[in-house]
């Protein structure tokens, strides 16, 4: 029984008609410890209905068929499994349509596997509990009601956007956070940047929250993004 649950918790259904890309995604995710099953859109829907998958990755178009229709049907039936939509269509309109149809996140091709992995982890470990009022990592504590941040006994003054940035990290401790995720979720910017402006924001935040003589709470993950050290 325990085994079933843990298997389910690591099972990802992949609906992707480009076999080579599907294969790469499978290899990468299996390397990260997930169980990946490639499936047709109909198979995936059936598995999702009986609750045998932790999440779905679906290409927007599979063999010329719009998979968003199936997704909409699933959502109407009350199936709550997290769904990541990947697509060759990159316009914001398409992104919005993907999310409206019931997708939890949307990734446009071409993407790096690190980006995909980070999104998957964020979806699987999403803290849906909106009643949370305090977020904590080590001796860093954020009070969401008071809108204050303390490290140990000392209060840290943050600008509103810095507060949101830190909150995002605190909600995803120990996870790889990509620059694209921060742009999309913290700033609501749906475009890519050719400047390292996000890095500057992170470095400013670090200067405020890091304690002298200790390793930084937020570390750079080469070629991927950043991570908040959960066990700091």
């Amino acid at each position: 029984m325990t085994r079933t649950i843990s298997t389910r918790a690591r099972t990802i259904l992949l609906v992707e008609d480009e076999s080579e890309l599907a294969n790469e995604i499978k290899i990468e995710l299996e390397r990260l410890g997930y169980l990946v099953r490639t499936a047709s859109i109909a198979e995936a829907a059936d598995v999702a209905r009986v609750g045998d998958a932790a999440m779905l990755i679906m290409d927007r178009m599979v063999f010329g068929e719009d998979s968003l229709k199936t997704l909409e049907v699933l959502r109407r039936e009350g199936v709550k499994v997290p769904v990541l939509v990947i697509s060759a269509l990159s316009s914001i309109d398409e992104k919005v349509r993907g999310l409206k149809a019931g997708g939890d996140d949307y990734l446009a091709k071409p993407f790096a596997m690190t980006e995909l992995a980070a999104r998957i982890e964020a979806l699987l470990r999403r803290l849906d509990d909106v009643r949370t009022t305090k977020l904590r990592v080590g001796d860093l504590e954020m009070d969401l009601i008071e809108q204050t941040v303390h490290r140990g006994d000392s209060k840290i003054d943050l600008l509103p956007r810095e507060f949101k940035l830190l909150e995002y990290f605190l909600r995803h401790p120990g996870q790889v956070i990509t620059r694209a995720m921060l742009l999309q979720d913290v700033w609501q910017y749906h475009f890519s940047l050719e400047t390292n402006v996000v890095d500057v924001h992170i470095s400013n935040l670090r200067k405020k929250i890091d304690a002298r003589g200790f390793p930084s709470l937020i570390t750079n993950i080469r070629g991927a993004g950043f991570m908040l050290n959960a066990d700091a």
Binding site: E20, K109, P110, F191
Partner: protein, 448 residues
């Protein structure tokens, strides 16, 4: 004015005037010649007939008849005289026998003195030797014919002047109208060449030659636009088809990097990954551009505030500017409302501000301002960085164009193209201006 006379329409008008004048003159001339010929024939017949009838009269009868003719029948004869065989005048109203054959046929004499007058006038004479050796001379002045010619000439000149003016006026009217239409066509073509490929030449329902050509040109433009879209479609398809292979190669390289301990191999792989990243960035930007340019017009057009968008982006970029010791300022007074897609506008302005910071050296200045100028919304991003060389200014909005000085700065070279496409989608113009030193990029609404 010179332009005006050079236009083909004016030339046609002038030719029209010329032909009208020639035709009218010819008609007048023909009428005159015919009347004159008829007149001359009549004169000749009368004179010859008169001479033939009078040849056998006695001298006294002749004298009587001449008197009668000259005093009572002015209409038929103007000259009548009898000369002796040695050509001395015996009686009559002419003193000298003109130099014509004495054959009873009418002859034209260019100048002969009028009776009781010193003036010389052309006339027609018939001279005939009588059985007694005397010479009888009858003649008719051509004064009447000349008077008629003068009348005809007067009519021609008085009639021709107004007609000439009328023809000129009509010609000018048609020329103006034609040149107005040509100007409209010229302006439209200029705009099409500037990139408004959806425009077409004006066609009216007259079905004249200009309309016919306009229609043909429009068909040609349709075809060119179709081909253009097809070509862009091909390049977009290439970008589209590159996505998956790029993603796959990227994944494989990442995997290779993870699984190898050979430092040399890892270093090479990392470099390859950096290149693939750049290629992916370019492909993504190219597809983004295609989306903005040819995708269905965003359904998300709603009232948005450019001031709020710029303020938000200003706060986003300020830390980056500060890290380069660039002083960044923002100038907004009141909300600047437009109808548009907020996400796209943010992207466009973000590209402009990002560029400004990218191309401005340390300790430089970047300023962002939003305002309503002459009722038009304007977003202006000004820097005092490296600017754009005069020779490159018209190329910076082209796809992939990167200035010589900007080549060292990483980027896809599509940022400005995307910004321009987004501006165009919102009925804005994206313009470059020299800030001496530095650059000013402004997005200006086309409509108030």
């Amino acid at each position: 004015m010179l332009e005006f006379f050079r236009s083909s329409a004016v030339r046609v008008a002038l030719a029209f005037v010329f032909v009208t004048v020639v035709a009218t003159t010819a008609v007048f001339g023909l009428v005159y010649l015919q009347i004159r010929a008829a007149n001359e024939t009549r004169n000749r017949v009368i004179l010859e007939d008169e001479a033939a009838k009078s040849v056998n009269l006695s001298v006294d009868e002749l004298r009587y008849a001449f008197d009668l003719r000259l005093t009572h029948d002015l209409r038929r004869l103007d000259y009548a005289a009898l000369f002796s065989a040695d050509r001395k005048v015996m009686f009559g109203n002419i003193d000298e026998l003109p130099a014509i054959p004495l054959d009873g046929k009418s002859h034209f004499v260019a100048a002969s003195p009028l009776p009781g007058d010193k003036r010389l006038e052309p006339a027609v004479f018939v001279a005939r030797t009588r059985p007694d050796g005397t010479i009888m001379l009858l003649g008719r002045s051509l004064l009447e014919t000349l008077a008629f010619r003068r009348i005809a000439q007067n009519a021609l000149t008085t009639g021709l002047a107004p007609m000439l003016l009328l023809a000129l006026a009509i010609g000018a009217f048609f020329a103006r109208r034609a040149s107005r239409r040509l100007t409209a066509i010229h302006d439209t073509i200029a705009q099409i060449m500037k990139g408004d490929t959806h425009l077409r030449l004006p066609v009216r329902s007259r079905h004249d030659a200009i309309d016919k050509i306009s229609r043909d040109v429009n068909l040609m433009l349709d075809e060119i636009t179709r081909l253009l879209v097809q070509i862009k479609g091909v390049s977009d398809n290439i970008a589209h088809d590159l996505r998956s292979p790029l993603a796959v190669v990227h994944a494989q390289l990442e995997r290779g990097l993870e699984s190898s301990d050979d430092e040399e191999l890892r270093s090479v792989t990392r470099q390859a990954l950096a290149h693939i990243d750049r290629a992916m960035l370019t492909v993504a930007a190219l597809l983004r551009l295609a989306d903005v340019e040819y995708g269905p017009k965003s359904s998300k057009f709603r009232p948005i505030d450019l001031s709020a968008i710029c303020t938000d982006l200003f706060e986003f970029y300020e830390p980056l500017a500060t890290s380069k010791s660039i002083a960044m300022t923002l100038e907004t007074k009141s909300p600047v409302q437009i109808v548009g897609d907020g996400d796209l506008m943010r992207e466009a302005v973000s590209n402009l501000i990002g560029n400004a910071i990218k191309f401005t050296p340390e300790n430089g200045k970047v300023s962002v301002s939003v305002a309503q100028e002459d009722g038009r919304p304007v977003v202006r991003v000004r820097d005092n960085g490296i600017g754009v060389e005069p020779g490159e200014r018209d190329k910076i909005f082209q796809r992939f164009y990167r200035t010589a000085s900007g080549h060292r700065v990483p980027g896809s070279g599509l940022g400005l193209s995307i910004a321009a496409a987004i501006a165009n989608l919102h009925d804005f113009d994206l313009r470059f201006d020299d800030n001496a030193p530095g650059a000013v990029f402004e997005m200006v609404g086309r409509r108030k």
